[in-house]
Symmetry: D3
Subunit: 301 residues, 6 copies
């Protein structure tokens, strides 16, 4: 029986890696995963293709991904090109009529179309939406501080998203919202949108693709697991820095509203999504409502 040796060991090793992914495929099958897309993963051209491939693999194994994106830097850039004056309140950008118009063009027009066409090129049946479409995101004016047309999400009406997922379309949502009457659009925070949408859809996971490896502390380094209460400690103790605070808050909000797990992963790593979802190694920090040690080793990170 010497013939099987004709098959290179390398090939058999491939099968082992595929089979190593099997328990993860089973666990995730049929689940909804909301992905906040942004930062390097969205901005750097060479990462667009691996991202699309990851989403394609997710859909091929029966996962239902929903993608949420913002795009602050690109809005600023276009505002500058158009010579709009930028006004700040408490260090935060003020969104006047002209800026809202630019944000709508850049987020719902340029970036959304870009993400959708990159996904299409990777074989994903992506459909672009903003929070205006089908009244998906209802917002009202944020009052403290008054930042003009910056809004806070008051209701998610996920019917259009759910309908598209029924036939395996992948919704891609730009962070523009609308008031209840359909009259006034608002710029809203994409992290918050991802968190609220995950809660409304009863998503299994909410994943933030960031430009850092996860939650890192000076003493413990990268934390691979974290409980919701520990997130509060990190914020209060000042260990979590500026960019991380809203993500941790969104994470805890999503968990309290029924999302099972939140992942903060490194979007700069190629195929970070596939690694986090389908391999035992994981590539970031996983947050759950309970203390981390209650979770058996069934999942990556």
């Amino acid at each position: 029986m010497e013939l099987p040796t004709l098959i290179a060991q390398r090939t058999i090793a491939k099968a082992r890696i595929l089979l190593e992914a099997l328990p993860y495929m089973r666990e995730h099958r049929g689940k909804i995963v909301v992905i906040k897309y942004g930062g390097a993963a969205m901005d750097m051209a060479p990462l667009a293709r691996p991202f699309a491939e990851d989403i394609a693999l997710l859909t091929s194994t029966g996962i239902h991904p929903v993608i949420v994106h913002g795009g602050g830097p690109q809005v600023t850039e276009m505002s500058n090109l158009l010579g709009l004056e930028t006004r700040f309140v408490d260090g935060l950008r003020f969104t006047d009529d002209a800026t809202l118009d630019v944000a709508t063009m850049v987020l719902a027009g340029r970036l959304n179309t870009k993400v959708v066409s990159d996904l299409l090129a990777g074989g994903v049946r992506a459909v672009g939406l903003s929070g205006v479409d089908g009244g998906l995101l209802h917002a009202r004016k944020q009052l403290e501080p008054d930042l003009g047309h910056v809004g806070e999400v008051v209701k998610v009406n996920a019917e259009v998203v759910a309908k598209l997922m029924e036939t395996n379309f992948v919704p891609v949502v730009a962070s523009i919202a609308i008031d209840e009457l359909g009259g006034q659009a608002y710029n809203v925070n994409a992290d918050v949108v991802a968190s609220e949408l995950a809660a409304e859809l009863a998503a299994d996971k909410l994943i933030f693709l960031n430009d850092v490896p996860g939650v890192v502390t000076p003493t413990a380094g990268l934390l691979s697991e974290l409980g919701a209460s520990e997130c509060a400690d990190l914020i209060q103790s000042g260990v979590a820095d500026g960019g991380m605070i809203p993500k941790l808050q969104s994470a805890v909000g999503a968990l309290k509203n029924g999302v099972r797990r939140v992942h903060l992963i490194d979007g700069r790593v190629e195929h970070a999504l596939v690694l986090e979802l389908f391999t035992p190694e994981g590539v970031g920090t996983m947050i759950s409502l309970d203390a981390p040690d209650e979770h058996p080793p069934a999942e990556g990170s």
Copy 2:
């Protein structure tokens, strides 16, 4: 029995008008109507509200409207604001990379969001799409003349539109398309998009909202009905002028591909859609494949 006279005759007249609309409601119920939206109807602020009300009435009587829009003038305006140089070939605008980017922002971002939020404000469950979403419009580069990223539609994959209509969403489609591989976007003619989409959806009607009352000839004035072959005559004889020719061509194309009727109506008239669809008067020109006199008086215009 003098009491009924307490009810003002004006009120009873109202009921008569509602009932006059009854045969049209029955005829149109459950049908798909593709509407090319543009010109004054889209640009003039006071016409946005009546348009939304008309679409709301259509959906309330069981019609499934699909709206298609372009927006050439707004693209030009934004290009100018950004200081882009405009290049012309054979008198036609050349779409280079920067212009395509502007077109995407303006059509799929600003205008599409504007139309959707106006419809929402009128109580319509509108959802914005471009031809990129779900691979809705596949295009390839137009070769004669070479106008850069101006494309011609080669395939309509209407699955995303059909899915949305299933639960009574109203799709609003911006005239941007994508090549088969998802790599390259194209600027495409919105009249053609409306015609191709109507054919693919087996729409009952295709309606163009124009800035003219319909097809007008120097001798006969406004033609209320027209056969497809007469359209060809009007083009060949030079009676149809520049702006009308592509609409007549799109109309004939749609009719040959199974759309039952095409209407060219005056978008400057408030509630033109409701008048055309629900009253015996009609407000423009109706074109059908057959000679006009074969159609009994069951329908407006």
Copy 3:
């Protein structure tokens, strides 16, 4: 832009009236409306056609009407023709075997067939039933006073009605009922049948077509809105007269069993149904469980 003036102002006014009906269409869409048909509206030949047109408009806008009728005068007339002796108990007609037979013939045979064929002629898919069909109305003998085969409804088994409405048939129900075992038929009051059927179907509205303009008091004239408790007052204080009392009692019963609103309207007015349901004017008295002033002006009358 002088062209739009070619469209007569009268035509545009038509569109406005259609659009004025839009909020009512939306509110009523998909709702069940039970209509007690009788009196002049049923007896006077010139009103049959407008009634059928009204029902057709209701169905065209997605309302599900159910029609209930009695026909006491016609039963009396036929009994007289057949030379049957009429016996009275406490001033109420006694239904002996022969009279029940006549009632069955006249209500379930002549009148039901007449209403159904008038509706068919108006384009309505009407189907005639009596309370015997599919065991729709179970009754038992009324004991106080003993009026022979006059029964009181003890159970509504609305399955046959619900099934017919599923495919947009319009059930027309004659007020004959049957005992639990299927052995004995009963003559039952059509106002009560309408009320019980509306409750069982969880109808949105119950509408009585009467020969008076609505609830009229000597001091206040026609009351356009009324609360359930005020109905009781009107009965107790003797303001409500003989013919109105059973209707007010049926109205309150229906409201307490979940019907949202009851309307008493003037069946002598042409198109009273369409006026009441689709215009802000209304043509009678609307009764709801709550005090009238809690209702915003969203609905006619």
Copy 4:
């Protein structure tokens, strides 16, 4: 093993009879059987109960019965009671306005309600209809001879019947029809209605309950099977007498329109339907399109 002898042989014989019915149950399960009900079976009180039991057994074994009835003698009787003059044309009764009114009352009112309540009493979910309901039977005036409002069926629109059967209601149809526009009712022949309805419903069987044992010839006695062509012979040769001719013609018409078999059975025999459908003996004449000997002995009669 003497214990089984405790079970009476009579009891075991019961099981054998039930099992003898098994192949018939299998064969008929899910099939539509149209039954023309009339004559002694309908008129004689003691036969109403066994008829209801038979229909109950049919439905319990998964058969979908549809019952059609006329009632000429009862119409005549009521006309006489009302003192209407009877007019004859070529020996056939002329149906003037008054007679049509009586026919509607008697057939769609009294008799239909009677059949439905008898069936209900036997546990059958019967629903009464006439050909007017849902536009079930479209007729036009019969011209030769002119018998007033006697019509001939031109179209069967069986949607209401099919809908009711979906949830195992048993439709009971009175032989009154309506013209295409819903304006004029007609008296139509119940044998023809049964035949046309069976064809439209693609019924497996059409059964006529008559007052004779089946087709009897002077030479051969009762014919247990018959081919369609032999029916023609019987009519042409004059062997078939007056009452049998229209039934044979209706039978052949049904067979040519796709009904598999027609049975003429003796309605005076208690449980004739069950005997014909579930026992090998059969109780009448079975007619099929093909020669009788092509049918294997799988079915009764």
Copy 5:
């Protein structure tokens, strides 16, 4: 009316017997009946055909039967043929590896295939299963006494059985089970399997086909009805003998878990199932949770 006498009285008697079965057909229609098959009914060749006919009649009247069988004697016989040594613990057979292998072959192979093909021959769409298939029966090792691979059922996962019944297949289950991990099979008691499966399926009835007429006491003879508490008395008082005790225990267990009635009937009687289910006589003992006299005479036995 002498003709009906042509129909033999014997034939009419047949119809009466069929109709006598009607209330039982109605009562059982759509219900699940679990049948423990064994003893003479399974072993004696002449009884295989009547059993298959009975099951066929059950399915033809809309009952969903599920059959469970063991086969201890046949396992012993095959073990002997293979020269396996039989070991006993407390007088009970010990199931070592070899014996389990034989049990699997005999129960899931030979006997199951035999029952299925006998049923197929009688026109029943039977499908053989063991408790291993689809993880139907999860068992764990029985500890007291240790009988080797004899297990006790810990969970019934009836999905595969329910799925097959959806399209009117008749599942036939051999009493072999599997542990939770799929690694170790067990021999389990078929009476217990039938009882647990009936409870899991919310069966209406559980029927044991035994080699005795039912529950017989020295003083009262055959008991035709019995309450659950009386079963306990019979066991405690020693009146119930060895073979009857596990059946009574299984019966009470099933009743407590929601099965409506348990029947112990004499499998040696031909057509015992049909007699018990469709005739008023019945052929054994019926056990229900309540006292026997609470049950009206609606059912056999």
Copy 6:
């Protein structure tokens, strides 16, 4: 951006292998794959677990596998144990009554239960069947040569298999068949069963797990692709040896009946199925109806 280097390159390589499988996952998703299981893959204990893992991966990516097995050697072994005399006709084993009984026990009992429990242990929802269940495989006696109860498949009635696949059960079929009347079982060839079942199910693939690497010729070595006509050549020229001939014939038969591709792969290689279906390398010979070169490199082997 040094942080990503914290992720081991080995981990990223894993993601690449998973993504390399993506096009295969997409291609196979929702397809039916019939697998003839046998030889070393079934007999050698260490290969049972990898086989179950492979089937689990197939189901996790949306493939619907159906497994067919025989087991001649095990039947012979048991026959010997039972001291049955083996008779040969033309060098082929004769199946007398006793041998058929042994085959039923071994194939439908022991081996089928073994395969099912191994699959359950690997997380696959397996359900064992033989060709008797639900009348899956109808056979008749093979006449040339007369080998007793050896049959040839005449009809596949795949309803039970299709029903189980609907809810993602994996059917495992033992090669025992039954005659049309359900009276006589037959031993049938498992290769033929797999081929016929694949054709009936319109399977995308039929895979034979053999004890050789695929089709090997003295001159060309292992052939990775093959057309149907070349199979015929290999048989006629004598290049294909004894064991390969029936497999090649079954392969060609399946292809002619609509199966898209047949694979002969080496069951002795661990994870041969996953390698063949999800990697570009492949591990055997792929046969299609057309010439091999027409197939682009979209698939393994």
